[in-house]
């Protein structure tokens, strides 16, 4: 047992369980594929909510290995991609304010807003810095007390608690020049919105593993209860994803939808209560604008009144002007799962990772980027 205090760190370091290679075993993958093959009779389309899953599925070539009855469709689980143009324009306008240091995860830098990106703003002189963690932004605020340091809070329930914890640390340290533009979003309401719209027929949902580490597998119980749709929560290694697909095929064929936790080493039914507690202490739930889905009730996080002094949008009012959508870009449809990326007329011809038109081609979790990079004969 890894937590046994008698075991030294070096013994654990040398022990076999590393939590990665074990879950990539080709022999075990073959038997899972055989079980899927044996069980799958009717055509079934499953949505992987999470863009991390889309990329893992492509990287490990899982689509080609699955029987033709099983189709996998990308969902809206890419926080960068679902950021609405109006929010992105606001972030760019904030970055251009004199005295501001805008800090952001690297994925956001190249996403085109209505008129340029954070990268073009940086090229024009704005102080935009890539950080790995919200804590790095906090350190920049300590290092530059005379500047206003804004952290671009993009991410789902996986990331929002880390930003909340950083705000609590800023409060405890008496930092008065640290701000957050909260564009955080919640995943179950977006899944509901897709099912409510009824545009795409889904036989099951592959639940996002690391979101569910935080919110817990119980948070997906509404899928079988309200929609009769099975859900299997998956980790990000090939065996994790195949296990989830096998569970979904079984539930779909048996007509017995439920929530299966196919990632029990990383996900508990109740989730991470500490992380959820910190997230809800700092943020409250609000409506939010999603690219592709529009305004989704109770799907966003804004700072609670006690923490508004950290709110960049209230502290620095800016008018980014009217938004402009990119003509022909079908990112919204890709995010709703109504089309695959090659169905977009811009895909690969006009829109490429070097010259992205829409965010799904920019982000490491974007469906278009996955299809472009790994699509091969599929495209």
């Amino acid at each position: 047992m890894a937590s046994d205090k008698l075991e030294t760190v070096s013994a654990i370091r040398n022990s076999e369980m590393k939590y990665i290679d074990e879950f990539r075993d080709p022999q075990l993958a073959r038997s899972l594929l055989a079980s899927i093959q044996a069980c799958s009779k009717q055509p079934a389309r499953f949505m992987e909510f999470c863009g991390g899953h889309t990329h893992a599925i492509f990287r490990h070539g899982l689509r080609q290995m699955l029987p033709p009855t099983v189709e996998l469709r990308s969902g809206p689980g890419c926080p960068v991609c679902v950021t609405a143009n109006a929010d992105l324009d606001r972030a760019i306008a904030l970055a251009k304010l004199p005295g501001v240091i805008m800090t952001t995860f690297g994925d956001m830098l190249k996403v085109p807003g209505s008129h340029g990106s954070l990268q073009t703003a940086k090229a024009e002189g704005a102080d935009v810095r890539i950080v790995y963690s919200a804590l790095d932004a906090l350190q920049i605020a300590r290092d530059y007390p005379e500047r206003a340091v804004i952290f671009l809070g993009v991410g789902f329930e996986t990331t929002a608690p880390t930003v909340a914890a950083s705000i609590l640390e800023a409060e405890a340290g008496g930092l008065s020049n640290f701000y957050v533009l909260s564009l955080h979003k919640l995943t179950p309401p977006a899944t509901r919105a897709i099912l409510d719209a009824g545009e795409v027929r889904l036989a099951g949902i592959i639940g996002p593993g690391h979101v569910t580490t935080v919110i817990g597998s119980e948070a997906w119980e509404f899928l079988p209860r309200d929609y009769s749709v099975p859900c299997a929560v998956a980790g990000f290694e090939p065996l994790d994803i195949l296990q989830a697909v096998a569970a979904l095929v079984r539930m779909f064929e048996d007509g017995q939808p439920a929530v299966v936790n196919a990632y029990p080493r990383g996900v508990r039914p109740e989730g991470n209560r500490t992380a959820l507690g910190i997230m809800h202490r700092v943020f409250e739930v609000s409506e939010a604008e999603w690219r592709g889905l529009g305004c989704v009730p109770a799907s966003g996080l804004v700072l609670r009144p006690e923490y508004v002094r950290f709110d960049a949008s209230l502290t620095f009012p800016v008018d980014p002007g009217p938004t402009r959508e990119h003509k022909g870009c079908r990112c919204g449809d890709v995010l709703r799962g109504t089309v695959d990326p090659p169905d977009c007329p811009l895909f690969r011809h006009v829109c490429t990772p070097a010259h992205p038109v829409g965010p799904c081609m920019v982000s490491d979790e974007g469906a278009c980027a996955a299809w472009y990079r790994y699509g091969g004969a599929d495209v």
Binding site: V9, Q27, L28, S31, G52, F156, A165, L168, R265, A275
Partner: protein
């Protein structure tokens, strides 16, 4: 963006720890996982541990998959 990497905790001091990833040591916040101890593997996401990996569950998953593999190997041999 929801990428999280299994990382071994090598030391703990308050709500901060050291984590080893690919042989490189870096600082990790344990603010979201106060239960994490030295010797635990955690899921590291943007500098924070967001969950402690359960070694017993990991072994159990692999055991079930090995059983499945044995079943299909036997079946393939029977054919």
């Amino acid at each position: 963006m929801c990428l999280a990497i299994p990382t071994l905790i090598t030391s703990v001091e308050g709500t901060t720890g050291k984590a080893e990833i690919g042989g490189v040591e870096r600082t990790i916040s344990l603010a979201l996982t106060p239960e994490a101890q030295v010797g635990d593997y955690v899921l590291m996401h943007t500098g924070f541990a967001i969950g402690v990996l359960d070694a017993e569950e990991a072994q159990e998953t692999l055991r079930l998959l090995e059983e499945l593999a044995e079943f299909y190997t036997d079946e393939m041999n029977d054919e």
